[in-house]
C-alpha cells in the first residue's frame, strides 16, 4: 500500500484517523501500532513475522545492554548491530553478492555457478534497519533511556508514515513523542499536517509521475536514437522526477505524522540551489546524511583525524550510502562519485566556487548532480556509460521523440519551484506556506487549494491504468 493509492487515501487513512482521534489517549499508541502492523503486512505479508520477531529480540537485547556496563555492554551492542545488519545484508544484498561471485566463477571458469533462489526484498528494510541501529546506539551512548514497553519500541520501528521511504527518524528525535505527545495533538498540527500531506501527494502525482512517464519512455529507447539534447532533457527531467517523488513522499510522511502529533525532521531543503556537493548533502535526504554522519562518519574519526583519513572516511561513508540505496554497482559508483566531489570540495572546489559566484556555482553543482543521476537511473552500468557518452557526444541528428505541452509545462513548474528558494523572497514564501499561522481567509483558500489538489491527484491516480480501446482488437 502506498500513500498515493486509492486504498490508502480513501479507506485506510480516513478510517485510521477517525479511530485514532476518537480513541482515548492511552490507546492511541496501540491504534497506531495496529494500523502500522496492518499497513506493513499488506505489503509484506510474510516478512512482517521477521520484523516483529526481530523487534522482540532487539527490544530485550537492548534492555539487557542497558543494564550492563563496560565490555559486556559493547558486546551486546555489537550483537544487536550484527543482527540487524545481518538481516539487511541477507534480504537486500545476498542476491547481489551471489550474482557477483557467479560472474567471477563463470568468467574465470573456476567452478560452476552457485545455485540460489532469489530472495524477495522486503519493503522499507533499509529504513527500519537504520532506525533500529539508531535505537541501539543511542541507548548505548546513553543519549536516551530505552523504551520501557515493547509496544513503544515496536511503534517506533514500524510507525507507518515513515516506514516505506523515510525520513529516517532517530530514536532520540522521537522517543519523547512516543511516550507523550499530547501537546502536539492540536488542531493546528492536524490542519497543517493535512495540507502538507496533500502538497506531498500533488508533488508526487502531478509532477513526479508526469515527468516519470516520459523519462521512462526516453530511457527505454535504443541509445542510438537519442540525440545529445534529448539525453540532457531526459536526465534533467529525471532529476526533478526523483526530487518531487522523494520529497513528495517525505512531505506526505511528515504531514501524516503531524496529524497524529508527531514532529518528524525535514528531509529536503531546496537541494538544487546548493552551491557545492557538500551543501547538496545538507539539503538532500537530510536525515540520511545526519544518520551517516552521527553513526558512521564520526565513529570512524570524523574531522578529527589526518586529512587523508578524513578523505578516506568520506569516501567509505558515501560508498556505503550508495550501496544503501540499492544492491547494484551503479549505486556504489554513484556513491563513490559523490564522495569524490566531497573530497574535491575540501581540496580546492570550495575556493573555486567562492570565486565564480553563486549563480555559476549552483549551475555547476547541479550539472555534477545530474551526471551522478545517470548512474542512479540506469539499470546496468553499461547503460549508464552509454547514456553519458550520448550526453557528451554532441550528436544532434537523431529523430526527436515527441513530448507534449503537458510535459514541458510540468517540467517548467518543477524547475521553478525547485529553484525558487534561491531568492530570500522565495525562501520566505516557502516557510510561510509550510509553517506560519494562517488567517481565516488564508485557511479557506488553502483548504480550497488542498481540495482541488486532492481531487486532481485522485483523478490522475484513478485514471492511470485506464486506457481503453474504442473497439475490440483482432
Amino acid at each position: 500500500m502506498i500513500f498515493s493509492s486509492t486504498l490508502f487515501i480513501f479507506y485506510f487513512f480516513p478510517f485510521f484517523l477517525l479511530i485514532y482521534y476518537l480513541a482515548e489517549v492511552r490507546y492511541k499508541n496501540d491504534i497506531a501500532l495496529l494500523a502500522s502492523i496492518f499497513f506493513f503486512s499488506w505489503g509484506a505479508p510474510l516478512f512482517i513475522y521477521v520484523v516483529l520477531g526481530s523487534i522482540i529480540i532487539d527490544f530485550f537485547l537492548i534492555q539487557w545492554m542497558n543494564q550492563t556496563e563496560g565490555q559486556k555492554r559493547k558486546v551486546l551492542l555489537s550483537i544487536s548491530i550484527v543482527f540487524n545488519l545481518g538481516l539487511l545484508l541477507y534480504f537486500k544484498y545476498f542476491n547481489f553478492f551471489v550474482s557477483n561471485i557467479n560472474d567471477v566463477l563463470t568468467s574465470w571458469n573456476l567452478a560452476p555457478p552457485i545455485q540460489w533462489a532469489n530472495i524477495a526484498l522486503p519493503v522499507g528494510i533499509s529504513f527500519f534497519t537504520f532506525k533500529k541501529l539508531s535505537y541501539s546506539i543511542d541507548v548505548f551512548r546513553k543519549t536516551h533511556l530505552p523504551f520501557v514497553k515493547l509496544r513503544q519500541y515496536a511503534l517506533f520501528i514500524i510507525l507507518f508514515p515513515e516506514l516505506v521511504a523515510g525520513p529516517i527518524v532517530r530514536f532520540n528525535d522521537i522517543a519523547n513523542q512516543i511516550i507523550d505527545r499530547r501537546s502536539e495533538e492540536n488542531i493546528n498540527n492536524k490542519l497543517m499536517g493535512f495540507f502538507r500531506f496533500i502538497i506531498g501527494l500533488a508533488k508526487k502525482v502531478l509532477i513526479a509521475n508526469v515527468l516519470g512517464k516520459e523519462v521512462d519512455y526516453l530511457f527505454s529507447l535504443p541509445i542510438e536514437t537519442i540525440s545529445t539534447s534529448y539525453a540532457w532533457l531526459g536526465i534533467i527531467a529525471y532529476s526533478f522526477q526523483i526530487y518531487y517523488d522523494f520529497s513528495g513522499y517525505s512531505d506526505m510522511a511528515i504531514g501524516i505524522a503531524r496529524m497524529i502529533g508527531f514532529k518528524f525532521p525535514e528531509n529536503f531543503d531546496n537541494p538544487y540551489i546548493s552551491q557545492n556537493i557538500t551543501e547538496f548533502w545538507r539539503r538532500w535526504h537530510i536525515t540520511l546524511g545526519k544518520w551517516m554522519r552521527d553513526y558512521l562518519y564520526i565513529p570512524l574519526g570524523g574531522n578529527k583525524v589526518s586529512a587523508k583519513r578524513v578523505y578516506f572516511n568520506l569516501w567509505v561513508v558515501f560508498l556505503l550510502s550508495g550501496l544503501w540505496h540499492g544492491a547494484s554497482w551503479n549505486f556504489v559508483i554513484w556513491g563513490a562519485y559523490h564522495g569524490l566531489f566531497l573530497i574535491m570540495d575540501r581540496l580546492f572546489l570550495l575556493k573555486v566556487y567562492s570565486k565564480i559566484g553563486t549563480f555559476a556555482s549552483i549551475i555547476i553543482t547541479y550539472v555534477i548532480v545530474i551526471v551522478g543521476w545517470v548512474f542512479f537511473r540506469s539499470e546496468e552500468l553499461s547503460d549508464a556509460t552509454s547514456y553519458l557518452s550520448r550526453m557528451f557526444s554532441f550528436s544532434f541528428h537523431s529523430a526527436s521523440p515527441f513530448f507534449g505541452v503537458k510535459f514541458y509545462l510540468i517540467l517548467s513548474i518543477g524547475i521553478f519551484f525547485a529553484f525558487s528558494g534561491i531568492t530570500s523572497l522565495g525562501h520566505r514564501i516557502q516557510q510561510k506556506f509550510l509553517n506560519a499561522e494562517y488567517s481565516s481567509f488564508a485557511l479557506i483558500m488553502m483548504s480550497l487549494i488542498t481540495f482541488l489538489a486532492l481531487f486532481i491527484s485522485e483523478c490522475s491516480i484513478n485514471s492511470s491504468g485506464f486506457n481503453p480501446f474504442i473497439y475490440f482488437r483482432f
Binding site: 500500500m1 493509492s5 486509492t6 486504498l7 487515501i9 480513501f10 479507506y11 487513512f13 480516513p14 484517523l17 477517525l18 499488506w42 505489503g43 509484506a44 505479508p45 510474510l46 488542531i187 493546528n188 492536524k190 490542519l191 493535512f194 521512462d216 519512455y217 527505454s220 529507447l221 535504443p222 529523430a399 515527441f402 507534449g404 505541452v405 503537458k406 509545462l409 481565516s440 485557511l443 479557506i444 483548504s447 488542498t450 481540495f451 486532492l454 481531487f455 486532481i456 485522485e458 483523478c459 490522475s460 491516480i461 484513478n462 485514471s463 491504468g465 485506464f466 486506457n467 481503453p468 480501446f469 474504442i470 473497439y471 475490440f472 482488437r473 483482432f474
Partner: protein, 547 residues
Amino acid sequence: MKQQVNFKKVIFAFLIIILLIPFTQDFFHLFEFSPLNGVFSKTEKPKLTLDEWSSGSFQTKYEEYLEQNIGLRNLFVRANNQLDFSLFNIAHSAGVVVGKNDFLYEEQYINSYLGRDFVGEDVLNSRLRKLKFIQDTLKQKSNIDLILILAPGKASFYPEYIPDRYNPEKKTISNYDFISKRAQILGLNILDFNKYFLNIKNTTKYPLYPKCSIHWSTYGSMIAADSIVRYIEKLRNIDMPDILWNGFEFSDTIRNTDYDIGEGMNLLWEISYPRMAYPRISFKSDSSKTKPVVLGIGDSFYKNFYYDDIPQNLFIQNGFWYYNKEVENSNDGVTKQVKQLNYREEIEKQNVIILIASETNLWRFPFGFTENAYDLYSYSGADGKMKNYRKLILLDPDWCRKLQKRSEENHKTFETILNQEIESLIANENEFNKKTEKDLVEMFEKKIYFNEFLLSEEIKKAKQKGIKLEECIKIDGKWLFDNEFGFVKNEPTIGHELKYYEDQIKNNPELMKAVEKKAKDNKISIAEMIRRDASWLLEDAKKKSNN
C-alpha cells in the same frame, strides 16, 4: 482565539468528510455518473484466502479492483480525461490522437495514410494477383462477382488536421496508394470511396466523415451504399430494389458511430461538432426487382450499412464475416467462427462477395480471404503450381510487359522467359515452404526490429504492457505470422480439410486409376468422384479421431 480554533476544527472536519465521500458513494450510491465507454478489462473482486494473502496476490488484485470500483470512479476518470484534453490536447484512449481543431484520429490511420505501415509491393502484388485469379475463377465457374471496396480513411480525408509532429509533408507510398492503382491495372472490380469522397468533399452539404469518429458518417455510408447497389446492378445486369431518399433529419443527439472516438475518450462534456445529417430512407421493391445473395467480408465499415437496414432490405441472406473471423448477422442468430464453416460451400452460395476495408486495415486486406480462396480454387496436382503461376502472370499486364521486354533483350521467346519465370517462382516457393514456423516468426521479428516505425510502436506497446521490448517483439512477430499464414496453416476451414484429401487422391496415381473407373461406372465426372471419395476419407478420419 477560541473562535479561531473552532473554525479550524470545522475546516478539518470538512476535509476528513471529503476523504470519506468515495466510500460513502460506494455504499449509498448518492450520485449517478454515466458509465465509462470503450473496451477494457475489469478485475474481479478477489477472494481472501491464506495463500492469496501470503503471496501478496490478494492485495494486488484488491487494489486493482478498488481502483476500478471506488465510488466516484467514473467522475475521476472523466474529469482527468477532460482536464488533459482541454489543457493539453491529450486523449486517454488507446491509439487516439487529437488533431488540429479537435479533430480526432486513431493514430494507425495517420500512420497508414503516411505510408508508415506499407507492407511492400511484393506482398501486395501477390495478394492482388491472387484476388484477380479468384475473381475470374468465381465468375467463370459460378457467376459469382467479387467486389473490392476501399472505404475512406480519416487521415486521407482530413489530412489538413493531422498534427505537425507526424510530419505529414513526409508522406511516402501507402498500401492504399499501391492497391488503388494496381487493382485498376489488374482489372479487379473495385470501388474506391477514399478517392470518391475526396472528390466530393467540398461540394457535399453535410459531413461525409465526422469530426470525432473513426468511421464514415451515416450520411457518407448511405452515399456509399447507394453507389454499391448501382455498381452491383451494372455488374450483374440486374435491377435491385430502390433506395428512396426522403429528406434529412438533423438531430441534436448523434447517432450510430458518428461520435465513437469521442465516446471512447470518456470526457465530462462532448466535443463540439458540426451539425450531422441523417438521411430518411425507404426501400421500394416488387417482383420485378432482384435481390442478390451477398456476403460481406471485412472491417467495421461494412457494419454501418446495417444501421439503415441496407443488407436486410436489398440482399438475400446478408452474411457478414467480420475480419474473416467472426460470422455476424448469421441467419440462425448464433455467433459462429468462420473456421467452423465449410468455406467453399459458403462462397458458392453467394452471388456477390464484397471485400471491404478502410485504409488502416489495407496492410492485411482482405484478412486471409485471398489465402483461403486461392487455396480452394487454385490448380492442384503435379502441375498445379505451374498452372497457377502461369495464370497469375498472364493476368497481370505489367508482369507480362516486363517478361516481354526481357524476352526481347535476351532474344528468347516469350514462352521460354515465361517458363523460366515460373520455374524461378516455384523454386522460391519451395525454398520458402522449407521454412518452419519458427523461421517465419523470426523473420517477422527482424522485420519489426529493423523498421524504425514498427520498432517505435513496439517500444510504446511494451511500455504500456509493462513488459520488455524483446518480449513484445516476440509476441507481435507471432501475431504477424498468424495473420499472414495462419489462415491456412493454423486455422484450416472444413473446405480445406476436404481439399487436403482431394489432393491426396490426385497425387496418388493408383488411387486416381480407381477413381476414374468408379466415375465411369457411376456415370459422373472424375472431379465429382474425387470429391465424394475425399468426403468419405474425411468422415472416416473424423470417426477414428473421435474414437
